[in-house]
């Protein structure tokens, strides 16, 4: 059976697999951590400038935990509600959409953000669906009625590759 040519042009809109999602999530955690470090450094510097005191966050571990948790929720929730993708997801060509494939609403982004820790911290059981289910939906996806799809254009990537192939002889000729 030959596959439909319209779907073979690009992977856009297909359910994204576990590896891409895991790597994108790792990238997001890293990006959020770096951003948090920068923000906390800026706050510390500002406080020391204004109040003349130096804050050591390592002494306020509980506060730091709460602040960082809130920051991660804001990081994911805001970006998902804005465009359906985070920085890491944009990097790896992924996007969160509704279970039907429509753009997600802010409410869904909020539910997804709140339920993501549940999927992770209940022994990771909520993430099994990403690997095992046909639609690669974890608990947080099912709670928020969302799914993750590939958003990058493989067709454009192929054209870029062809363009590079076409350009190489020209460059060599010019030399």
């Amino acid at each position: 059976m030959r596959s439909n040519p319209t779907t073979s042009i690009s992977r856009q809109g297909n359910y994204a697999g576990a590896i891409s999602r895991l790597v994108a999530f790792a990238a997001d955690i890293g990006a959020a951590w770096v951003a948090l470090l920068i923000i906390s450094a800026a706050i510390t510097a500002a406080v020391s400038l204004i109040a003349g005191k130096t804050i050591h966050l390592q002494h306020l571990q509980f506060v730091a935990l709460i602040v960082s948790s809130l920051w991660y929720l804001i990081y994911f929730g805001y970006q998902w509600s804005l465009s359906g993708k985070t920085l890491g997801m944009a990097l790896f060509g992924l996007k969160v959409v509704t279970a039907d494939g429509a753009p997600i609403r802010p409410r869904q982004a909020f539910v997804r953000t709140i339920t993501l820790p549940i999927s992770i911290f209940v022994f990771g059981l909520g993430l099994f669906g990403i690997v095992l289910r046909v639609d690669h939906r974890g608990w947080h996806d099912r709670f928020a009625k969302t799914c993750v799809v590939y958003d990058w254009d493989a067709r454009a990537a192929r054209m870029r590759w062809l363009a590079r192939q076409h350009e190489v002889p020209e460059v060599r000729e010019s030399h």
Partner: protein, 235 residues
């Protein structure tokens, strides 16, 4: 005794019939007709006056046109028509000059026309490789879009897709999934099971490579990027 007038009439009638009969027999009609100048006679007839008296509409009404048409052998008539001769006589240029093309174009509903066009099918018929090779399009795109970052992103994404496909294949095999599986949400992938079917995601072979172009599309980008990298390193 009074005379019977009916009896006299009867006698007179029979005498007259006999006399007239003999006179008519005696007349040589041919000789009379031969002496008549028919042309002179016709010339004296006012044909216009006769035609004026004829109610042509009434005559036409009485004609059964269908019957007349039924009797006409159209094929015979058409076969006798020299179409090429007619075409030769027609001045096509003058007809074209009379046509108001702008008015025709204005009457065309371009949107309706475009809706009927299957753009996806049209695009799929384009041989992108050939297009890139034969035109300047390749170098233009390369100059405008190719950068180290884009190249790297394409590579990383295609590697990710390749790994996803690998995991999916094994999961489907372990869970013994058969039949067509949805490739994506219904609004984004209307055709079900084009890519995610376990058959399509079985162990890689030459056959599956041709059956699942999308999978190969992504891996092609990856593999070609690898080729490029190895080529550049060897050079």
């Amino acid at each position: 005794m009074a005379s019977n007038p009916r009896g006299v009439d009867r006698i007179a009638q029979s005498i007259a019939e006999q006399v007239v009969g003999r006179i008519v027999e005696a007349i040589d009609v041919d000789a009379i007709v031969s002496k008549i100048d028919v042309n002179k006679l016709v010339n004296r007839i006012d044909v216009d006056q006769i035609i004026d008296r004829v109610d042509v509409d009434k005559v036409i009404d009485r004609v059964d046109v269908d019957k007349v048409i039924d009797r006409v052998d159209v094929d015979k008539v058409v076969s006798r028509v020299d179409v090429s001769d007619i075409i030769d006589r027609v001045s096509v240029q003058s007809i074209i000059d009379r046509v108001d093309v702008d008015a025709i174009v204005e009457r065309i509903d371009v949107n309706a026309l475009m809706e009927k066009v299957d753009v996806a099918a049209l695009v799929n018929r384009i041989d992108v490789d050939a297009l890139m090779e034969q035109t300047e399009l390749g170098s233009i795109i390369a100059r405008s879009t190719t950068g180290a970052l884009t190249e790297g992103m394409d590579l990383v994404r295609s590697q990710g897709v390749g790994l996803d496909d690998f995991v999916n294949r094994w999961v489907n095999r372990v869970l013994r999934r058969k039949g067509a599986l949805p490739a994506g949400p219904p609004l984004l992938t209307p055709v079900v099971g084009a890519l995610s079917s376990p058959a399509a995601q079985s162990a890689p072979s030459e056959d599956t490579a041709t059956e699942v172009p999308a999978t190969t599309e992504a891996s092609k980008v990856a593999s070609t990027a690898d080729d490029q990298a190895s080529a550049s390193s060897s050079s």
